[in-house]
Symmetry: C2
């Protein structure tokens, strides 16, 4: 057994059996080890942003880490933007980044770079396996770091000689499962006291608290206490639709967010952060909270959110009653006429199958989806958590691999979709059950809005050439076809609904270019 | 004038009048400033790897920096792989990376990250413009850092409030031109003495010494001294073809490289590094030099290479005679039969027009090109210098913008081409005179070779799924068409030659998918 085999066995012993990969020469012994071990499912991405975004989607749906395999500093660099999103989503991921043989670093060969410096901003843990004999421990440390609650990004740098040298290490045994800390009773009591103090309270939620059972318990708490329940603006995964508790999110637009919290006297955070502007704007506040608003955390990082919510329910006297208020199924009429973002949202609300997984990178064009789908079939809703565009298509890749029996639907803005368009190839390669809806408006719509906001007036030549995508127009049907994904274009609401209905009936990847 | 205007004016005052860009909200005031300033040519890339690779290609051909405009940490991260290549090419680039308003950083908004840590591994200089009043100085520092000899990567982080606040700064004046240091006479003398000592000597060259006039002078030196002239394995830009001095490069394959230097007793470096393995392999050496080989630098970084070569010529007694030995024009017969990498090389040797710019990211498939084109029309040959794949199409983008009257030809491996395939859109958008030749072998050929080298035998299921690209096959004609670039497929040598001939006669982007 060499170091690469030991790495592979350590991952498998700890139930990490999917590896999203784009290897290079320095990782070739790890590739050979993976080749000897058919229990590991290896999924190729044609660019590392696909690899890391897929690992994020997988982690969000499987509730456990996948491994990634990346080629030295530049390979890691290509995956960093989606690791940034995964870090904000608190997804567990174990990155394996190859590096030169230890003794080769001194030569400063062309691909040498400072991998730690690159890794650290997007990782919670960075380590180096420099000898075959330490690969096992280092991998265990990485796995331990990744799979806490909430999840973390662990990046292990694997030297080529650590991979290829023999080790006398035993076959690895599984690590004990991560155990979350018990919630701090003082925090629970403080939150309960605050909730019962007669002040206008918002409970702001993200993470595991957005799963259906936790939301049901939270709905009972707010029924009992009169608080308002709300989700963060962007969340890793949210269970919603018919039969689920309906809750709103903090708006993206600053003025709306400020208005949302104008009356809030106290804010109780469940894994969430106190709401701030996505960007700063001259003359606008950074915090969305009114002055003097009291902010409490129900639990600290590492404490068990489920236990904390249960304890809060007990503390405020929630028993079995009242029952949670669940959204009824509402199936709107099929849209007709012009194809608009709203028509797309309505068609989805009507047609998407139960247990769909929605990967939302629709940016401006998908804002109708959320409000249109409270009564859609129950679904999981996955968002862009870190603002680094190019996650939609990769996220769907990972979600589909984690949940092969569920339909994955991507709401994809065209500008963002181009960032990691290579993911379509993996959809085809792995026969993933993913329907991609491209909102084809042929511009960076959000930026045209922002340009207007800075008072620059109508865009001139230079601004227009940086913000419009209409010359030439991207042909998404051809792009998909070039990578083996069937596709069709919709110009009307009726045609869109027909295409969506047929895509939902079949299995396998399909792309709809929605001309909005 | 706000900080963003001052930045724009400072760039223009220093002859930086091209900005490769993919902006976001935090850069919107800079976008507005660029929009007010039509002298700046703004070129959009649909992914940041296109932006930075284009800036590299531009710098190599224009011998001056372009600016880039990148969106916070993730936007920079997406551009890092090609900045790694540019850093290895010693291309001057001034990156402008937007960041939040200074006071907004404390909120840790979703897009916040440690930009310095990301920038440093791929930058020679990193700075921050935190106030409008310091934008001018900081930009001047960045420009000064970038445009030395050789060039450097300067990364300036521009806070949003530094961009939008007013400044009372004067209109900037041009900085004095960078002046290279005079070469150190002791080094010149040492090299001259070594050359005349009767030992087997290789002069290893890269950078500016690979331009035609320098190579002519170097050829005179080696005729006089009996030394061997050779180029580094990968070079930023090399002038070659008919009417130019012919010189070989260090081979990529380790055993060949070791054999190349087996007899070398002393090595004189002209901007080059002593040759080392691109990767380490078990049981193979890291340095390509025989033990005891003497290594001398003709000049240190910052010293003037042209003056140093002149001084060396003087020191070894080169006068006007002998004349340099220049390659004659050799136009091979048109290839026929099966389409092979060799047939492609022969067709190029026959057909490529004078002053073509060749951007080579052909990896394994293009190895015939170099040896087939000593007698081709004179051309500039640009290589992948840092080993981070995904540079070919962006490099061509920048080269074509720097040299609008010259034909740019990209030799593009299919696997690498997918990394930054979005560059094709910019070829179409800017009507660039670029012919892209995709070597479509539908696999990571180099890695299949490396897998064999590690003794893993025939690839099994997992290795095959990470190294083969044939399921589904990529359709490059459709990919190009989807992004507005005309394209055609060649299955035979004759068809390829016909397509190449017609592509060379016309202006504008064209892609040939070469089925090899």
């Amino acid at each position: 057994m060499n170091g690469a085999d030991l790495l592979c066995e350590t991952l498998l012993a700890n139930d990490i059996d999917v590896c999203f990969a784009n290897p290079g020469t320095s990782e070739m012994h790890f590739v050979a080890a993976l080749d000897r071990q058919p229990r590991m499912r290896c999924v190729l991405g044609l660019f590392e942003g696909v690899v890391t975004g897929a690992a994020d989607g997988y982690a969000r749906m499987a509730d456990k880490p996948a491994a990634t395999l990346l080629h030295l500093g530049p390979g890691l660099a290509n995956g960093l933007a989606n690791l940034h999103n995964a870090r904000r989503a608190r997804s567990p991921i174990v990155n394996v980044v190859g590096d030169h043989a230890t003794y080769h670093l001194a030569y400063d060969a062309p691909l040498t770079s400072d991998i730690e410096s690159l890794a650290r901003p997007m990782s919670h843990w960075v380590g180096r396996a420099a000898t075959a004999d330490t690969v096992g421990e280092r991998t265990e440390e990485a796995i331990g770091a990744a799979r806490g609650t909430p999840g973390r990004i662990a990046t292990m740098i694997l030297h080529a000689d650590a991979a290829w040298n023999e080790t006398s290490h035993d076959m690895p045994a599984p690590l004990p499962q991560a155990v979350s800390g018990q919630p701090d009773q003082a925090r629970i009591d403080a939150a309960a006291t605050a909730l019962q103090a007669g002040r206008r309270t918002t409970i702001l939620v993200t993470g595991i608290a957005l799963r259906a059972p936790q939301l049901e318990r939270l709905d009972r708490i707010v029924q009992r206490t009169g608080a308002r329940l709300m989700a963060q603006q962007a969340n890793s995964r949210m269970q919603r639709g018919a039969g689920r508790v309906a809750l709103d999110r903090v708006p993206y637009v600053i003025d709306q967010a400020v208005a949302t919290f104008a009356d809030t006297e106290q804010l109780i955070l469940l894994g969430a952060k106190a709401p701030v502007g996505f960007f700063a704007y001259p003359g606008k506040p950074g915090s969305m909270l009114p002055e003097g608003c009291l902010v409490l955390d129900l639990y600290a990082e590492g404490e068990d959110p489920v236990a904390a919510i249960e304890a809060l329910a007990d503390a405020v006297g929630v028993t079995q009653a009242p029952p949670p208020r669940l959204s009824p199924r509402h199936s709107p009429d099929m849209p007709t006429g012009k194809l608009t973002p709203e028509a797309i949202a309505v068609a989805l609300a009507r047609l998407m199958p139960a247990d769909s997984i929605i990967c939302d990178e629709s940016v401006t064009s998908g804002r109708d989806f959320f409000r249109s789908t409270y009564g859609a079939e129950p679904h999981d809703f996955l968002q862009l958590t870190g603002g680094a565009i190019g996650i939609g298509l990769p996220l769907a890749t990972g979600a589909a691999i984690a949940c092969p029996d569920r339909k994955v639907i991507v709401l994809q803005a065209d500008g963002s979709g181009m960032y990691t368009v290579q993911a379509l190839w993996t959809h085809a390669r792995e026969r993933l059950d993913v329907v991609t809806i491209v909102f084809s408006n042929r511009r960076y719509q959000i930026l045209l809005g922002e340009l207007k906001n800075v008072g620059a007036g109508a865009p001139g030549e230079n601004a227009s050439r940086m913000l419009n995508l209409d010359d030439p127009a991207l042909d998404w049907v051809k792009l998909a076809g070039a990578m083996g994904v069937e596709a069709a274009r919709a110009d009307t609401a009726g045609r869109f609904a027909d295409l969506l209905a047929s895509a939902c009936r079949r299995k396998g990847p399909f792309l709809i270019e929605a001309m909005i």
